[in-house]
């Protein structure tokens, strides 16, 4: 148990990670402990007071600070500053749930537990406390129920009961991970799941937000098209005064124009390449800045996430990497969706798109003689 806990004794900075998640984080500030204000002990004190003093001294440190025995001894709180006494006191504190015993490099060390959390432990049964401790240790990643059972070594029903109780007390919650949507995963109720669990800005409630991805990629693409090719300046005629009433077409045109006014451009036949050695092709950092400046996304996107977006645009055949893969350039002519449609010999022939092509044989049920698709194509 101690070994396992020590793995989690140094957590990363939770707050910075959660900044970019799409769901706004309910930030958790440590509640001031009641005993924190307790004054320094004077004269001879009871063991209880000594422990309180030790706890209070430790609680002034930052939340996840890990104390080793030398550090505790250096506080000079205990009257006879020896190791045996210290261990007696810390053991007692650990038993009360106020200290967490851990090992580091084979030596014992301790972490302070908040009184409110300690109170939670006190209200729990032994099994529940065990389950709770693992779930707590899993932090923002959550823990899979099967893994939890293996670690606690509890019987299925016992564990399920413990989980149920914990859930009803609102200590823990069940979450959905992106990677394994079918696994039951639990974490503390007060925490927000990490990005590994939620999948980053592209996911909402564990489900990929395809529309968001699509819109972001469209914007990024337009941005890159505008910067990696030279475009003729827009015709003057579009700067007319908008009429009060618009027909459908005019409205659409206006919308397209509004879109064009942004930083990006659509592909056109008229665009020309820049001279060789042009190094103004946007880099990942520039694109990330531009996307964040555009405030299209509710949260700030990281470079790695924008990189993911640009990767899929490359795989879509809409962008290509230039200048040793550091910068991006739009592919001049692309096929599909809003690009220019480029067919080749195979796909434009009736056979190239034939749904029953595999069955087509001479003298077979489908053949060139009775082919309807061919007829259609010939008359087209």
């Amino acid at each position: 148990m101690n070994n396992h806990l020590s793995l989690h004794c140094d957590t990363g900075d939770n707050r910075s990670e959660s900044d970019s998640t799409m769901v706004t984080l309910v930030k958790e500030y440590p509640t001031k402990d009641d005993d924190l204000t307790m004054g320094e002990p004077s004269g001879v004190s009871s063991p209880q007071e000594l422990r309180n003093a030790l706890y209070a001294r430790c609680a002034t440190f930052e939340e996840n600070h890990v104390f080793d025995q030398n550090e505790l001894l250096s506080f000079n709180i205990l009257p006879e500053n020896n190791v045996e006494k210290l261990i007696v006191h810390t053991n007692r504190l650990a038993k009360d749930g106020l200290f967490k015993l851990m090992t580091k490099d084979g030596k014992a060390c301790w972490k302070v537990v908040k009184r409110s959390d300690a109170a939670k432990y006190k209200s729990l049964s032994q099994d529940e406390a065990l389950v709770y401790s693992y779930i707590e240790a899993a932090q923002r990643e959550g823990i899979w129920s099967k893994l939890l059972r293996n670690k606690t070594n509890l019987h299925m029903t016992t564990m399920n009961r413990a989980i149920k109780n914990l859930e009803s007390k609102n200590y823990i919650k069940s979450i959905k991970t992106v990677k394994w949507p079918n696994r039951k995963t639990y974490m503390l109720a007060k925490l927000q799941p990490s990005e590994n669990v939620t999948g980053g800005p592209f996911y909402t409630d564990g489900i990929l937000d395809e529309e968001f991805v699509h819109q972001m990629s469209l914007w990024a693409e337009r941005y890159i098209i505008g910067r990696s090719w030279w475009h003729p300046s827009l015709p003057e005629s579009v700067k007319r005064k908008p009429k009060s009433k618009l027909t459908q077409e005019e409205a659409e045109e206006l919308r397209a124009r509004e879109l064009r006014r942004g930083q990006g451009r659509a592909r056109s036949e008229a665009m020309l390449p820049f001279r060789a050695g042009y190094n103004g092709y946007p880099t990942l950092a520039e694109i990330t800045r531009a996307i964040n400046a555009s405030e299209l996304s509710g949260v700030v996107m990281k470079e790695s996430e924008v990189g993911q977006l640009l990767d899929i645009l490359c795989w879509d055949g809409r962008l290509e990497k230039v200048l040793n893969g550091k910068s991006y350039r739009a592919v001049r002519l692309v096929i599909g969706e809003e690009g220019i449609l480029l067919d080749n010999g195979l796909t434009e022939s009736p056979c190239g798109r034939c749904p029953v092509f595999d069955m087509c044989e001479e003298d077979g049920p489908v053949n060139a003689r009775n082919c309807e698709y061919f007829q259609e194509w010939l008359q087209h």
């Binding site: 990677k179 001279r275 022939s349 056979c351």
Partner: protein, 671 residues
């Protein structure tokens, strides 16, 4: 040869040479090598008909033949030649573009004849109406009448000479009538046994013999010199008896022939010019045929130019076309990188045929729109242009130093190259290149860009064209390979085809996939080709697609054979739950699959032409009667004429489609 490909070949033969020929061809294709008696047995035709058919097939080089020691001649289908029938139209068009209208006519004539003596060709033009060339199988007119009017034997000779020089036609060699395997055996007979080579070990002897055989095969494939004495000694006796007289004469005449093509012709062309000068004509006894390899090279260049136009711009593509045209004469085959021996890790780039910047500049001297093809006419971009200079300079300095290291290693080869290239340069840019070289040696400056700029006033287009060329070289596809200027050598460019072709194929396949299965499918395919084998989970998170959506695309692609699935069991039980499923994209498999589909599509198109033709058969037959031709108005009713017009339109459309499908085949198979 796959089923659909053979189906297509038979259809093509049938379409051009009729049912008898195609029936025999089909049997040969199906059964493999057959002798005449076996052919008679399989086809159920009379010996006379079979021999007729075989004669046509031989004339068109559609079958290989081989006479074994027991005097039995066997025939084998030449599928490449049969497939190439579909390219006839393209060949004529290419010849017209390169060497004028009349050259196209000569090519179409040669296509009809299969292979022909120079004398016969000339004669056919001279006194065409009276006696047709004896080799013609009577399939229609020889050329258009309007071309005929001002044709003299001399002009035919000159055109043929031009065609030979361009490599569009080549001399016929006996080996062209043998299958690769037979050629190899024959070469083995000619080359002395391994013991003859006096090396230390047996293995070395074997290796040397192997080299000798390959060299022999090469000589046969591209006949240039009057040699192969040995072959003839070995074969002459049999050949005379078995082959029709024309064939055996071929062999004899080749000995008299003076080298004209490829190597000699491409470097200086002096030998050919001299020959024409002396006699005013090619030897009438030379036998010519279409050089399919060269046409494939030209077709490849075209698709590369199209790719450049798609991915950069039209003007740059124009410059690229010029570079490829310069290199064309030095590339005789799509499959091998000419002149660059491959030592395992790709050919030596420096040994590839090169072209210098000055050549290109000279060729594009009169083009006016080159400078306007760049975006930086916009004044606000000027600062960007300035910013690239230090970078470019640094890059060039780096590669300069690399060059120097290389040169130390093999200085002699570098000098040879220099000589070779200055030959062709001398023809094209005369004194300017030489003076430039001198200048380069005298005042060499590591930052060669300053020199280029200093030269700019002399030739304002130089920088523009260099920009176009650099743009091509810097493109991710690497259209060009850049050899920067060195003290000895001027700046040069080459095309390393192998990787470029990989890009072209990939581009074509992906385009088909995009068009058929959608953008998302293309995304998954590209992802797989970049990442290798990926399991579904990772694929899902990388492609940013919902699992459900992604699965539907994967299934469609998998079903169509575009991507593959590998199962890796994690233990011996092979339990599906404990098995990893990895998706991957194998470009070779995908290519093969798509090639087969293309063959099949082509075959279906041709079948449909037949079907549609049958519908209006009587009208077509009536229209092609000799008394009706030219007087259609008189003999045909309105309905008949309308049906005929519709049928012709339809035929044009389908054949156009077939030609476009052939472009795909060329990319996937030939380039």
């Amino acid at each position: 040869m796959s089923r659909y490909a053979s189906e297509l070949c038979v259809l093509l033969v049938d379409n051009l040479y009729g049912e008898l020929t195609s029936r025999i061809f089909q049997v040969i294709l199906r059964e493999g090598r057959l002798s005449i008696p076996a052919l008679i047995h399989h086809t159920g035709l009379t010996p006379r008909l079979v021999k007729h058919g075989i004669a046509v097939l031989l004339q068109q080089q559609l079958v290989f033949w081989h006479t074994s020691a027991e005097d039995a001649t066997v025939y084998e289908a030449n599928t490449t030649a049969a497939y190439n029938l579909v390219r006839a139209g393209k060949y004529v068009q290419i010849a017209e573009e390169q060497l004028g209208h009349f050259a196209g006519a000569v090519i179409s004539n040669l296509l009809l004849l299969g292979h022909a003596r120079v004398g016969d060709l000339v004669q056919a033009y001279g006194t065409r109406s009276k006696d047709k060339p004896p080799l013609s199988n009577g399939s229609g007119s020889v050329t258009d009448d309007n071309v005929e009017s001002d044709v003299t034997p001399k002009s035919v000779h000159i055109t043929l000479h031009d065609l030979l020089q361009a490599g569009l036609v080549s001399l016929v060699n006996e080996s062209h009538f043998r299958s690769d395997a037979d050629n190899r055996i024959e070469a083995g007979k000619v080359v002395p046994a391994a013991e003859y080579f006096k090396n230390k070990t047996k293995r070395e002897n074997e290796e040397q013999r192997e080299m000798a055989i390959l060299q022999k095969l090469e000589e046969w494939k591209y006949p240039t010199a009057p040699e192969e004495e040995e072959v003839e000694i070995v074969n002459r006796g049999k050949k005379r008896r078995l082959e029709d007289p024309k064939e055996s004469e071929t062999i004899k005449r080749q000995r008299l022939y003076l080298p004209l093509v490829d190597k000699v012709a491409s470097t200086a062309g002096t030998a050919g010019a001299l020959r024409i000068g002396h006699t005013g004509a090619l030897n009438n006894d030379h036998i010519l045929r279409i050089n399919h390899d060269k046409f494939a090279v030209i077709m490849r260049n075209r698709s590369l130019v199209a790719l450049a136009e798609q991915s950069i711009c039209k003007t740059t593509a124009k410059v690229y076309a010029e570079v490829l045209r310069r290199l064309e004469s030095k590339v005789r085959n799509c499959k091998e990188e000419t002149g660059a021996p491959d030592f395992g890790d790709g050919p030596e780039l420096h040994a590839l045929p090169q072209v210098s910047t000055d050549d290109i500049v000279a060729a594009l001297r009169h083009s006016t729109d080159l400078a306007n093809a760049f975006g930086n006419v916009d004044a606000s971009r000027v600062n960007l242009r300035q910013s690239d200079h230090p970078k470019r300079r640094r890059r060039r300095e780096e590669s300069d130093s690399e060059d120097e290291v290389m040169k130390d290693g093999n200085a002699s080869r570098g000098e040879e190259e220099d000589e070779d290239d200055s030959d062709s340069e001398a023809l094209l840019t005369s004194a300017s290149s030489e003076s430039e070289e001198e200048k380069g040696e005298a005042e060499y400056d590591p930052s060669s860009s300053t020199k280029t700029r200093a030269k700019a006033p002399e030739n304002p287009q130089l920088n523009t064209i260099r920009d176009h060329l650099l743009l091509l070289a810097q493109h991710p596809y690497q259209f060009l390979h850049h050899f920067p200027e060195t003290p000895i050598l001027p700046e040069k460019w080459t095309v390393y085809f192998a990787p470029l072709m990989a890009h072209l194929t990939h581009h074509t396949l992906l385009r088909t996939i995009t068009s058929r299965y959608g953008l998302r499918a293309a995304r998954l395919t590209r992802l797989l080709s970049e990442k290798g084998k990926v399991d579904e989970k990772n694929l899902c998170s990388l492609s940013l697609l919902n699992q459900k959506t992604m699965r539907s695309y994967l299934t469609a692609l998998h079903q169509a054979g575009m991507i593959q699935l590998q199962e890796v069991p994690r233990d011996n039980s092979r339990n599906p739950q404990r098995t990893l499923y990895l998706w991957f994209f194998d470009i070779e498999r995908c290519k093969a699959k798509m090639l087969q589909e293309t063959y099949k599509s082509m075959a279906r198109c041709l079948q449909r032409v037949q079907v549609e033709g049958d519908k209006v058969k009587s009208t077509v037959e009536k229209a092609s009667r000799s008394d009706v031709i030219g007087r259609e108005e008189e003999f045909l009713g309105v309905q008949e004429r309308e049906a005929l017009r519709k049928w012709r339109e339809m035929e044009d459309k389908i054949w156009g489609e077939v030609a476009r499908l052939d472009d795909m085949v060329a990319i996937m198979r030939d380039f």
